[in-house]
C-alpha cells in the first residue's frame, strides 16, 4: 500500500463505486439494472476526474474581477473532459434503453439468460 490512500479518499470512493457499477453490469440479470450499473460506473469515473482537478482553497475556473492568475483557480481540464463524458453516457443510456424496449416487445422478459435460453430453443 502506498502512502496516499487516506489523502485520496475521494478517488478510493470512486474506485469502489466503479467496481460496484462494474459488478452490476456483469452480474445483474435484469437489463434495466445493468443499465443503472453502467451509469454508476460512468459517474464513478467522472468523480475520479473531478477529484483530480480539485485544489484545496481555490475556486471554480470562472474569471472574477479580471483576476487571471494560476493561483486563484482550480484546474479546468478535468471539468471539460467530464462534460464531454456525460454527453456520451446519456447517449449510450438512451440507446441501451431503446434496445431494452425492442427486446422486451420481442421476448417479453428483461432477463438476458432467459432470452438466450429461448434463442437456443428456437435454434434447435
Amino acid at each position: 500500500m502506498g502512502p496516499n490512500l487516506l489523502a485520496n479518499y475521494g478517488e478510493a470512493v470512486s474506485a469502489i463505486l466503479f467496481c460496484i457499477g462494474f459488478t452490476n453490469l456483469l452480474l445483474q440479470t435484469n437489463l434495466i439494472k445493468k443499465i443503472i450499473g453502467l451509469n454508476v460506473m460512468d459517474s464513478a469515473i467522472y468523480l475520479f476526474l473531478a477529484e483530480k482537478g480539485y485544489i484545496a482553497g481555490r475556486v471554480a475556473p470562472i474569471v472574477v474581477n479580471g483576476v487571471t492568475s494560476t493561483e486563484a483557480y482550480i484546474n479546468p481540464i478535468p471539468s471539460g473532459l467530464v462534460l464531454t463524458g456525460i454527453v456520451v453516457s446519456v447517449s449510450v443510456t438512451a440507446l441501451m434503453l431503446s434496445l431494452t424496449i425492442r427486446l422486451y416487445t420481442r421476448y417479453h422478459t428483461l432477463d438476458l439468460d432467459e432470452i438466450s435460453a429461448q434463442l437456443k430453443k428456437e435454434g434447435k
Binding site: K33, A50, V59, A60, I74, L83
Partner: protein, 91 residues
C-alpha cells in the same frame, strides 16, 4: 467541508449498493436519481459548477425520465404518476 464531502460520499456508496440489491425496478430508478443528485452536490463541493448543473439536468432529470418511460413501456408501472417528478429538479 471535508466532513460534508465524506458524508456525501458515504451516501453515494449506500445508494449504489442499495440499487444493486433493490428488488423493485421503480425503487432502483428512484435511488439512482438520488445518486445523481448527491453526485451533483459533490461536484459543487469540488468547485465544478458546470458539472453540477449538467449532472442535475441530465443524470437526475433526463436519464431518469427515460428510465421511467421505458419502465412504463414495458408495463412495469401501470399508473402514470412518475412523470411529475422530473419538474422538481429542473428548478
Amino acid at each position: 467541508m471535508t466532513a460534508f464531502q465524506i458524508i456525501l460520499m458515504g451516501l453515494l456508496i449506500i445508494c449504489a449498493v442499495s440499487v444493486s440489491f433493490s428488488k423493485n425496478l421503480l425503487n432502483a430508478i428512484l435511488i439512482y436519481m438520488s445518486f445523481s443528485l448527491v453526485m451533483s452536490m459533490l461536484w459543487i463541493c469540488l468547485e465544478s459548477p458546470d458539472l453540477a448543473i449538467t449532472e442535475a439536468a441530465v443524470g437526475a432529470g433526463i436519464t431518469s425520465v427515460l428510465f421511467f418511460v421505458t419502465l412504463k413501456k414495458i408495463h412495469a408501472i401501470e399508473a402514470a404518476e412518475p412523470e411529475e417528478k422530473e419538474e422538481s429538479k429542473d428548478e
